[in-house]
């Protein structure tokens, strides 16, 4: 269990590093394009590159955000529930969400495969963009993993406590 937890945290951390570079990449590309436009030589692919990097930024932060419990829960009613019930609900929540995001990850992967196989290229730069799609897919996979590890954590704590 501890080992799984550590792997999960390391994975989230690794993705956050790449995401960090991507967000600085957006900053650099978009700023450079402003400067280039002033000298009448804008980079025609700036829109696309920024969009693709944006996808990486968000996808790679999903697992970390969940680990930090950064997603908002409506607690108006459940904060009055008994502690035991609340913990069970948390487990149910992790399970449903984990299953759902596994599906999402798988489907984004399928979508990427479709683009790869059909040879579809990006609109402006005419480059193969499936690696970015796969990146988003792996971001969701790590989110699902994080949810499952949290679920397992709930069980372990229950046995110990």
């Amino acid at each position: 269990m501890k080992y799984l937890e550590r792997v999960n945290i390391a994975l989230n951390g690794f993705l956050m590093v790449i995401g960090g570079f991507a967000v600085l990449g957006i900053m650099t590309v978009a700023t450079a394009n402003v400067v280039l436009r002033m000298v009448h030589a804008p980079y025609r692919g700036a829109y696309e590159v920024v969009s693709f990097l944006g996808a990486v930024v968000i996808a790679f932060a999903l697992g970390y955000t969940e680990k930090k419990k950064g997603n908002i829960i409506v607690e108006i009613l459940t904060e009055r529930f008994p502690k035991r019930l609340r913990k069970t609900l948390e487990g149910v929540s992790c399970m449903i969400s984990g299953a759902f995001f596994s599906l999402v990850s798988w489907q984004i992967y399928e979508y990427g495969m479709k683009i790869l196989e059909s040879g579809e290229l990006s609109e402006t730069l005419k480059i193969a963009f499936h690696p970015f799609v796969f990146a988003v897919s792996s971001g969701f996979a790590v989110l699902a993993l994080t949810l499952f590890v949290d679920l397992a954590g709930l069980f372990v704590n229950r046995e110990e406590g």
């Binding site: 650099t28 700023t31 950064g70 449903i96």
Partner: protein, 435 residues
């Protein structure tokens, strides 16, 4: 079962799950929306939707403005610039009741003139304003409410994504829409600020008066503002005269802000890492809410509920003004249960012709619609701005944010009434100037 009924049941199920299951709101919308699409079409169809929709949202250029404007806010925050900004405003306005909340509203209005979306404004202003107001013992209801309501100015004040979409949809000039928006924006900003005064008059302890600073202290605080004003001035100048998109303006301000922080040795390595990390996870939180809203909206579209509801209303034999207010009500409810933009896209083709037939001015109607959908962003239970603020301010629960925001609802209604009573004086006087 009939499609629209499935839609209604879907909305009920969504709320039940939201309130009872402790699943994050964004996940709830996505999961219930997905399950609904499975029910109405097929599992295979829903699977195909989910993959492509997620990719489309994640790779949308318009949304990249969110991480950029959060990042500039983070640099300013970790570099200590917000401190100086708030310290200076406190010296000048702190001895008035709620002075910092008023400053926050004004800062939101300024940010809104750069950002087209209210979630970006909400996220940025939460980092900038809430910690400062907390420091001066402002009550969370006032802090969070002021930021949430102020952030709705993000989609109202141009550049506004809602107005651009409205313009494209109806073929109206974007220039006219933006110009027609100037007075309504001022009206609403003033009304929201007036609400702060009202709150502080009713609850004197919510935004306590500070000690009066000496003139020496007041002017002594000003040099701290030079750098941040310079940065701001450059962005504003670029946006209004120059040639940049909102994302580019945000990115350039990030770069400038970073350079400034480094030159003045204000940003430590730790602060830099924290800025980037915070930006990533806040952006992820905002994006996943948008994605949930889009998927839930997709489900409602498949059930045809929005289409059927709208066309049913249009067949009612009612006088024009009653019909108009029913349409307004639909937008308010729509704004409560789904993303305002998604609802706008679904409903405009049906409502727009009805409203035009009733003889209303299209530019004017665009302003009214924008204010109404904007109000949806702070209405419980799905108000996007409140979720963002609650997510940002870890120690303020969502219910407090909603409670604080409800004070501002009358502002929007008064603004709409003013627009209805004086359509020429509020909207057309400026929009008619545009060719």
């Amino acid at each position: 079962m009939e499609g629209p009924i499935v839609g209604v049941i879907g909305i009920i199920v969504m709320f039940a799950v939201l309130f009872l299951l402790r699943i994050p709101a964004a996940f709830t919308m996505a999961i219930v929306g997905f399950a609904g699409v499975v029910y109405v079409t097929s599992f295979k169809a829903a699977l195909g939707m989910i993959g492509a929709d997620m990719w489309n949202i994640f790779s949308s250029y318009g949304l990249t403005v969110i991480p950029m404007f959060i990042l500039v806010g983070e640099f300013a925050h970790w570099g200590g610039y917000n401190n100086s900004l708030y310290n200076a405003t406190y010296r000048w306005f702190g001895h008035y009741r709620g002075g910092l909340a008023i400053t926050t509203i004004m800062a939101c209005a300024i940010f809104s003139a750069i950002s087209g979306s209210n979630s970006a404004t909400a996220a940025t202003m939460s980092t900038v304003a809430i910690p400062e107001m907390k420091k001066y013992n402002y009550r969370p209801e006032l802090n969070a409410g002021a930021v949430a309501a102020g952030a709705t100015l993000g989609v109202l004040i141009p550049p506004s994504i809602v107005l651009v979409i409205y313009g494209l949809y109806t073929g109206q000039s974007i220039g006219k829409l933006f110009f027609g928006n100037v007075i309504p924006s001022i009206i609403l900003t003033v009304l929201i600020a007036a609400t702060v005064f009202y709150i502080c008059w009713r609850h004197p302890d919510w935004g306590p008066k500070g000690p009066k600073s000496t003139w020496r202290e007041r002017f002594g605080a000003l040099p701290d503002l030079i750098e941040i004003s310079l940065l701001f001035g450059i962005i504003m100048f670029a946006l209004f005269t120059g040639c940049v998109t909102a994302t580019e303006a945000a990115a350039a301000s990030c770069a400038l802000g970073l350079i400034m922080c480094l030159m003045r040795r204000k940003l430590s390595w730790k602060g830099f890492i924290a800025s980037v990390t915070d930006t990533l996870h806040i952006s992820a939180m905002v994006f996943i809410i948008v994605a949930g809203a889009v998927i839930f909206g997709r489900f409602l579209a498949v059930t045809r509920l929005p289409f059927e509801a709208a066309s049913w209303i249009s067949t009612l034999a009612l006088p024009g003004w009653a019909l108009f207010w029913i349409i307004m009500l639909c937008y308010i409810i729509g704004g409560c249960v789904m993303d305002a933009l998604a609802f706008l896209l679904v409903s405009l083709p049906i409502f727009y012709p009805i409203v035009m037939e009733m003889g209303y001015d299209p530019i004017w109607f665009g302003q009214v619609i924008t204010i109404v959908t904007t109000m949806g962003a702070i209405m419980p239970p799905v108000g996007l701005c409140c979720y963002v603020v609650a997510g940002m301010a870890k120690d303020i629960p969502l219910s407090t944010v909603f409670k604080g925001s409800l004070y501002y609802i009358p502002s929007y209604i008064i603004a709409i009434l003013l627009l209805m009573l004086f359509p020429y004086g509020t909207v057309m006087v400026l929009s008619n100037l545009v060719r």
